[in-house]
């Protein structure tokens, strides 16, 4: 198990908190809440060690597209980068609806 932290500058406010996903095989849970500052804070707890570089690439790309000031907590149970992006998009969509 590994815990990773990421931080990005953000400009847009988050309307409401959102929770998606399950900590099940190949899946992950995302808790997204409005951030107290103009930044996006991401904490990832993942069951798979040694993929910090991949997580950084996935997060960098995602938050270059979405600039919501959110505090995001991810509980990962071996999701692929594709699944991670889909869950993040789902969380963003719910938080803005």
């Amino acid at each position: 198990m590994e815990t990773l932290h990421f931080e990005y500058q953000a400009s847009q406010p988050v309307k409401q908190r959102a929770h998606v996903g399950v900590v099940g095989s190949g899946d992950l849970e995302v808790l997204l809440e409005p951030s107290p500052d103009q930044k996006t804070h991401v904490t990832v707890t993942t069951s798979v060690d040694g993929f910090g570089k991949t997580w950084k690439l996935v997060m960098d790309r995602f938050f270059s597209r979405y600039q919501y000031a959110a505090s995001i907590e991810i509980h990962d149970f071996g999701a692929t980068p594709g699944a991670v992006v889909l869950r993040l998009e789902q969380a963003v969509e719910r938080s803005q609806s």
Binding site: M1, R17, H19, V22, V23, G24, S25, D27, E29, L31, E33, T45, T46, S47, E73, H75, D76, F77
Partner: protein, 287 residues
């Protein structure tokens, strides 16, 4: 209580699968539109304090969902176990949430405000990482169930695909009414545990036909351990829950029929392994 007919092609295409939903989605699907309200939801972050210490990723709701709302207009609480998280295992926190909700329902019932309880059981039983704390939580759940069912019926649903095993199979057996699908299994010990403890001659955990012939929903229903066998369809399961509650508290709960079941056990010929059909025949004999 009748055998459901097989779905036609059109019904199969238009049904909404219950089995494919996660625990939260199941609770949302069963409660009347707009009535869903979750207690101690994921943002309360009541996680297991024990999993992280053992290098296991926790889940923010610890895998149990307490959802208030209405079923067909009647005040209800759904206690749903997330089978995808740690096999739906019961830890200190997830178990305490369920036990506390049952106790609140008991208090409400005593005050004359009945809230009907539905258990969505998708669990391998106690969470081994939390050992005695999980066992204690299950004991609390079971004693709360027995106290509550004297005031109003408790309905259990095992939809699959995890099924319901271990200590929580006792909870299933304590329910006033039990609903199963063909995709569900119910057993005290899982197939691998039986094989390991008693040998492959006793139980071959690779033999799917044997497993389903003993623990599968169809068999459990035929042998009288489940009251309803339903198709994997949200509306069918909801209708079945409503029908079960409409029957009120059973005159005697299944778990109180000790003499009846002891008599059945005594009549078994243990010189050979029983076929599923023999079990159905033996167990369907009335009191």
């Amino acid at each position: 209580m009748s055998r459901p007919t097989l779905l036609g092609a059109q019904q199969f295409l238009t049904r909404k699968s219950f089995v494919e939903l996660n625990a939260r989605e199941r609770a949302q699907a069963l409660l009347d539109e707009g009535s869903y309200r979750e207690l101690l939801g994921p943002f309360e972050r009541l996680e297991s304090p024990w999993l992280l210490m053992q290098g296991v990723v926790p889940q923010a709701d610890d895998g149990s969902i307490v959802a208030r709302g209405k079923i067909d207009g009647t005040d209800s609480v759904i206690l749903a176990i997330e089978g995808q998280f740690q096999g739906g295992s019961i830890g200190e926190v997830s178990g305490a949430k369920i036990a506390a909700a049952l106790d609140l329902a008991l208090e409400d019932a005593k005050k004359g405000h009945p809230v009907q309880v539905v258990l969505l059981l998708e669990t391998g039983g106690v969470r081994l990482q939390e050992a005695n704390l999980g066992l204690e939580a299950i004991a609390e759940i079971n004693s709360s169930l027995i106290a509550l069912r004297q005031h109003l019926p408790v309905v259990g649903v095992i939809a699959g695909m995890v099924g319901c095993f271990g200590g929580m199979s006792i909870s299933a057996a304590l329910c006033s009414y039990l609903i199963m699908t063909r995709q569900a299994r119910l057993g005290l010990n899982g197939p691998e545990v039986i094989e390991e403890q008693s040998g492959i001659e006793e139980f071959d955990s690779k033999d799917r036909q044997l497993i389903w012939g003993v623990t599968g929903g169809e068999q459990r229903h035929a042998a009288g351990f489940a009251d309803y066998l339903v198709e994997d369809d949200v509306e069918a399961i909801k209708a079945c829950i409503v029908e079960a509650f409409s029957r009120g508290i059973p005159a005697t709960h299944r778990s109180q029929q000790v003499d009846h079941y002891l008599k059945l056990l005594a009549a078994i010929d243990v010189s050979h392994q029983l076929e599923s059909s023999e079990v159905r025949e033996l167990w369907s004999k009335g009191e």
